[in-house]
């Protein structure tokens, strides 16, 4: 008994050190397993390699044929996506198969053959994706560049694992810590110097125009985060939000318009984005929108505050769609086990703190109408205009 207890205790410090976030949902029928590799600021060459790395990562894994992978995941294809500041690998497994799932994830992190596709990636991007990541798309990298980036990103200290579903607390943490303890990684080569940064797009290659009011950047630990997030709910979440009423229903500029909390290297940025048919004087439209939004904000009443709180509650407490959190590769979060597990995992990766929806909601309920207006005006009036004509 004493021996067992000592063994159990000896695992705790290792588990506490591991970057494994456990999201427990006892009634879920599957377990979501995810791996996030943090992506630092990239040079143009590294940025080129990143999309190809994501495309090649799960195509061929040493020790796993396609059927082996599908056997582990019960038929759920492995997804690899590039987010604003991470690469995410995700799949589901049946609850009794979580250990095999972590084994597959370890193999992807350590033993991908990075087999390139016979057909290189096209440059087809949606207009929305172009607006979110407005950089000139990748050119085919050298195989060595992709391999070098793989080794730079996929190393134990750079990975955060998310495991969500009907799991026993601590088990996944201990299992992953054990796997990582046996992984000896080579020393990192020094970062390249004098390499150019990725080039910004000058037009939207998705075929449509995008118009953006890009608000100021603020730190991940900003003490007024609750006010700033509530302002995004007021501006952009739902059909009673200012953007929907002004940009869509009144000005008839766009069908899709969102106010987003977007991750950047230095923290977060509030971004108001519209995607529209490429017609008209876009800079003039941007200023008309800015003015109309400012007028609308100045006219907000307690009803608008109440609506924003209602939407925040629906999204954060109940997982309704239309979250302003643009942490996923294509925009807002999913209302699924995978989405919830990702949010827990990403928040920890980004802020170093556990995701706590209730605490954020409590703080939002303290926000006054005057503070909400001031925060929203700061976004709209302080925003830089970014236009990508289609």
């Amino acid at each position: 008994m004493i021996g067992l207890l000592a063994f159990g205790l000896s695992l705790i410090p290792r588990a506490a050190q591991s970057n494994v976030i456990e999201h427990i949902e006892p009634t879920a029928s599957e377990v979501s397993i995810q791996m996030l590799a943090r992506v630092p600021h990239l040079t143009a060459k590294e940025a080129d390699a990143l999309d190809y790395l994501a495309d090649d990562l799960a195509r061929s894994i040493e020790g796993y044929g396609k059927i082996d992978v599908m056997t582990v995941t019960n038929g759920d294809p492995v997804r690899v996506v590039v987010g604003p500041d991470y690469v995410r690998v995700s799949f589901h497994v049946l609850p009794n198969n979580w250990r095999a799932g972590l084994g597959l994830m370890e193999a992807i992190a350590r033993h991908s053959s990075l087999q390139p596709s016979d057909h290189p990636l096209g440059v087809s991007m949606s207009a929305w994706t172009c607006a979110l990541r407005p950089f000139v798309p990748s050119h085919p990298p050298r195989v060595d560049d992709t391999k070098e980036l793989y080794e730079r990103l996929f190393r134990p200290e750079n990975l955060t694992i998310g495991v969500g579903g009907p799991i026993m607390p601590g088990k996944a943490q201990a299992d992953w810590a054990n796997r990582m303890s046996e992984w000896q990684v080579p020393r990192l080569l020094p970062a390249a110097k004098n390499e150019p940064d990725p080039k910004w797009l000058t037009s939207n290659i998705g075929g449509l125009s995008t118009l953006e009011l890009a608000g100021p950047v603020f730190p991940a630990h900003d003490p007024t985060l609750a006010t700033k997030v509530l302002s995004l709910f007021a501006l952009g979440s739902g059909k009673g939000a200012s953007l929907f009423r002004i940009a869509r229903q009144k000005l008839v500029y766009s069908y899709r318009q969102e106010a987003l909390l977007y991750p950047v290297t230095d923290g977060w940025q509030s971004r108001l984005i519209l995607v529209m048919k490429p017609v008209g004087d876009l800079p003039a439209k941007a200023e008309t929108l800015r003015g109309a939004l400012a007028d609308d904000i100045n006219a907000w009443s307690d009803k608008d505050l109440e609506r924003a709180l209602g939407m925040a509650d629906a999204v954060l407490a109940r997982g309704v769609e239309f979250s302003p959190f643009a942490f996923g590769p294509f925009g807002s979060m999913e209302s699924s086990l995978e989405g919830r597990t990702f949010l827990d995992t990403y928040w920890q990766l980004k802020t170093g703190q556990p995701w706590d929806a209730n605490n954020l909601l409590v703080q939002m309920r303290q926000v006054s109408l005057a503070d909400l207006k001031a925060a929203s005006l700061a976004v709209v009036q302080g925003a830089k205009v970014r236009i990508l004509p289609g």
């Binding site: 596709s117 009673g240 069908y255 209602g310 109940r318 699924s336």
Partner: protein, 379 residues
């Protein structure tokens, strides 16, 4: 006293309510209530069948336009009311039905019933509203991706005018009048076209009665016989470098549909950038298999059929189960089947997949292999 209390507790055995209850109202409207203990949200979905209002070249897109107008509520303020109460509405138009899907806080049945009442009430329809929403649909159309365009082209090729995409034609929408829309709305919202699905931590009988109070007296419109489809054929369409093969299926209830979906899902994994599009419906439809690299032949011919069979069945089961993992998705899934056929349910496909034979799977695989050759084989 204590022993008496203990006896009382022991004899008060809770009567288990069924998890789900369905009721057909005298006017033909159907109500399904599902009890989900401790549900985080109350889901109330309204489905309006397209029976009698199917797309024709002359009306193409008016159902979509109607969806936009109805979702605003009679006073245009429905969204604001919902969102202030922590609720949300989203609407979508499919070939078989239009869905108005709403999510509420778990104890907001009163707000939900008020919103349902707004949706089934006569909307405000005027020329200005039609013009505004038509412009927005034009903007919406610009956002449609390669898969959506491929699907539209494949349906057109396989089914002809009967397969018109519900998104619509801007030409038609720009020529649409208030009278057109009022007439369409009255036919579409015939009580026997309506299905209401409620899912949440609710009491079944009481909820059915409350919904009955809202929709039980709605009128029934004179039925209009829908168009008859010619026998569809399997087709191939191209979008950029991508290739899509569409195989017609009889409907969600058929084992043939299960086999075709399983085959498509398995091949999509073999393809490097594979995709499968299928909208569950009791009506004849299309399972569309695409590959952005245009190399479907490689994926179909090089894989071992026995391996694909195992893979496809597991993936198709997961495809069904994934749509039932969250209460909101499950309510929408059940609704879109039940509005077509009143006893159709997701479990039907699971049963078909359980009984799936290798020979049926191989036949479905063959359909994808030969799709588009000599005009495809009628199914």
């Amino acid at each position: 006293m204590l022993s008496a209390l203990a006896f009382l507790i022991a004899t008060q055995v809770p009567i288990e309510q069924p998890a789900r209850l369905r009721k057909m109202l005298p006017n033909g409207a159907l109500v399904l209530v599902e009890r989900v203990p401790h549900a985080k949200s109350l889901i109330v979905d309204l489905f309006v069948s397209s029976r009698g209002t199917e797309e024709t070249p002359e009306t193409h897109g008016r159902r979509h336009l109607l969806e936009h107008l109805v979702a605003l509520g009679p006073d245009g303020q429905l969204d604001s009311r919902l969102e202030s109460g922590g609720a949300f509405l989203r609407a979508r138009t499919l070939r078989g039905s239009t869905a108005y899907e709403m999510s509420f806080p778990p104890t907001s049945l009163k707000l939900a019933l008020a919103a349902l009442k707004d949706l089934v009430a006569a909307p405000t329809i005027d020329e200005a509203g039609i013009a505004r929403e038509a412009s927005l649909i034009d903007q919406e159309g610009a956002l449609r991706d390669m898969d959506a365009h491929a699907s539209e082209a494949a349906w057109d090729k396989a089914f002809g005018p009967v397969g018109l995409d519900p998104f619509g034609s801007m030409d038609i929408l720009q020529r649409t009048t208030t009278a057109n829309m009022v007439e369409l709305r009255n036919r579409a919202f015939s009580a026997d076209n309506l299905l209401i699905v409620v899912s949440g931590d609710v009491e079944l009988d009481g909820t059915i009665n409350a919904v009955t109070d809202v929709v039980g007296l709605l009128p029934v419109a004179k039925p209009d016989k829908g168009p008859t489809a010619a026998k569809p054929k399997s087709v191939v369409v191209h979008q950029g470098a991508g290739e899509y093969r569409g195989v017609p299926v009889p409907g969600f209830r058929s084992p043939l549909t299960a086999a075709t979906l399983a085959a498509a899902l398995a091949v999509a994994v073999e393809a490097n950038r594979g995709t499968v599009i299928y909208t569950p419906s009791a009506r004849p439809g299309l399972v569309l298999l695409g590959d952005a690299e245009g190399k479907l032949d490689d994926a179909i011919n090089h894989a071992n059929p026995a391996t694909l069979f195992k893979l496809g069945r597991v993936m198709a089961i997961r495809w069904v189960q994934a749509r039932m993992a969250e209460p909101a998705e499950q309510a929408a899934f059940r609704g879109m089947l039940m509005v077509d056929e009143r006893d159709l349910k997701p479990e039907t496909m699971l049963e078909n997949l359980d009984a799936l034979k290798f020979s049926d799977f191989q036949a479905a695989l063959q359909e994808f292999k030969t799709a588009g050759h000599d005009g495809g084989s009628p199914r």
